[in-house]
């Protein structure tokens, strides 16, 4: 494919500002991974005044992996549907989160928060679990281990393929 952009994580506000909706990007570096149950518990910890962990400057990938087989770092690892995390997204972007990776459309509140904070939402290709697994070179569970596949992980990725779905100007690929 033509004009693929290669970016290193963590993302800076400058690098996000240069991205436009529809851009095909390959990401390399570290990101956090968690989905529904992880968000719910983190958000509750914030409401309780004892935030379970910090996410400032991070990119969060909404994903719950299959178990690793043989010597692979992680099992199949494609994105889950992002709109279920819309409830938490404006707060997290307003409090330092850099970017999110998932699949599918977002609420207007989330779109506004990406724009307000100059942040980016990437779509990974849903269902492409085997390809994403091969892009992950390292994975470890950091928090909430009891949640199984929904635990909070840190992963290291190389040339992880995504598409810019909402850019820092608030342009949305799904409303085109």
């Amino acid at each position: 494919m033509s004009s693929v952009k290669y970016l290193s994580l963590p993302l800076t506000k400058e690098s996000m500002r240069d991205l436009r909706v529809g851009d095909m990007v390959r990401l390399s570096g570290e990101m956090l991974v968690f989905r529904d149950a992880g968000h719910k518990r983190l958000y509750q910890s914030i409401l309780d005044g004892e935030q379970a962990f910090e996410y400032k400057g991070e990119t969060i990938y909404f994903m719950g992996p299959c178990p690793a087989r043989g010597n692979e770092a992680i099992g199949s690892a494609g994105p889950t549907t992002s709109c279920r995390m819309d409830k938490y997204t404006p707060y997290m972007l307003d409090h330092g989160l850099s970017a999110q990776i998932g699949k599918g459309k977002r609420s207007q509140e989330s779109i506004d928060a990406f724009k307000r904070n100059g942040c980016v939402y990437f779509s990974a290709i849903g269902g492409a679990g085997a390809i994403y697994s091969k892009c992950i070179t390292k994975a470890e569970v950091l928090y909430f281990e009891d949640l199984g596949t929904e635990a909070v992980r840190r992963i290291t990725v190389k040339d992880f393929p995504v598409v810019v779905a909402i850019d820092s100007l608030g342009e949305d690929i799904y409303s085109k």
Partner: protein, 288 residues
């Protein structure tokens, strides 16, 4: 009478899960290939390219196609000449699921406590008694990104089939990018609430590209597929020519007061298989 052990059925179920978790149903893969060839939207074509590459890698390296290895749904048709021996069918199938899911994602939990069963059990097993001496099994690993986008409506007769058609297309339009399009749509028309939902699930086992043997349903399927594809959702919702790979309808008579409509959405990677246990060849024949 013919005896077939539930352990034998369970062993075949386990092997089927092991295979279909890593291999997309062939007619589905062929339909994606066709969609790729005719797509000219740049981003949708990229998505289809990644999907097809993923399917090839998953099969070649025996990795799960998608990390959502789903909830296991099994339809079992039991010939009336067959006696099932051994454990209860549900228990035997659940043992097979538990074994098969050691290396797959365990996504099943209690709806109230949200505590994971850690085995991906229980499975959802539907049985029916039919003519014959065979046991026919249809199995699907159903992901929930798409299941969540499904709908059931109980229309009133005045709304009629035109409103049913509008709601089917609208369900796909509202789901848009969420269920990993291009989607496959199973539709139930008629029956009762639960019969309608069950038909929409079972319709998803149809081979993509196959015709409905009932003429007016076949016509309806083609009309709906055309309307859905004209929505322009495209692969992953990136905008493109193919929003659905197929629409499959099952119908059943209903009550004079109602028109039940169920729409079951399936993602672009159908992980489904069918097999038949031939009672004459594989069953332990005994005189009862």
């Amino acid at each position: 009478m013919i005896k077939i052990s539930t352990e034998y059925i369970a062993e075949k179920v386990k092997r089927a899960i092991d295979k279909i978790s890593c291999e997309v149903e062939p007619s589905c893969q062929a339909a994606l290939q066709k969609a790729y060839e005719k797509e000219d939207g740049k981003t949708a074509k990229f998505a289809l390219e990644v999907m097809l590459e993923n399917i090839a890698i998953a099969k070649a390296e025996h990795r799960p196609v998608c990390q959502d290895t789903g909830m296991v749904v099994v339809f079992v048709e039991i010939g009336k000449e067959v006696i099932l021996t051994g454990r209860l069918l549900q228990d035997a199938i659940d043992s097979a699921v538990k074994d098969a899911y050691v290396t797959l994602r365990k996504s099943v939990l209690d709806p109230v406590t949200r505590i994971n069963t850690k085995t991906n059990t229980p499975s959802v097993v539907h049985t029916s008694i039919v003519e014959g001496e065979d046991v026919k099994v249809e199995i699907m690993l159903k992901g929930f990104g798409s299941e969540n986008m499904s709908k059931v409506y109980l229309l009133n007769p005045a709304q009629g089939i035109e409103e049913a058609k509008r709601l089917i297309v609208d369900t796909v339009a509202q789901a848009a990018s969420n269920p990993c399009p291009p989607v496959i749509i199973g539709v139930g028309l008629g029956g009762t609430l639960e019969k309608c939902a069950l038909m929409s699930k079972h319709a998803l086992f149809r081979e993509i590209g196959s015709n409905n043997p009932v003429e007016h349903l076949d016509k309806l399927e083609k009309e709906l597929l055309e309307q859905i594809n004209s929505l322009g959702i495209g692969a992953q919702g990136f905008g493109g020519k193919t929003s659905a790979l197929g629409v499959f309808i099952e119908s059943y008579p209903t009550h004079i007061s109602s028109l039940p409509v169920s729409i079951n959405v399936l993602c672009h990677c159908s992980r489904a298989a069918k097999f038949v246990i031939d009672g004459r060849k594989e069953g332990e024949i005994c005189l009862v």
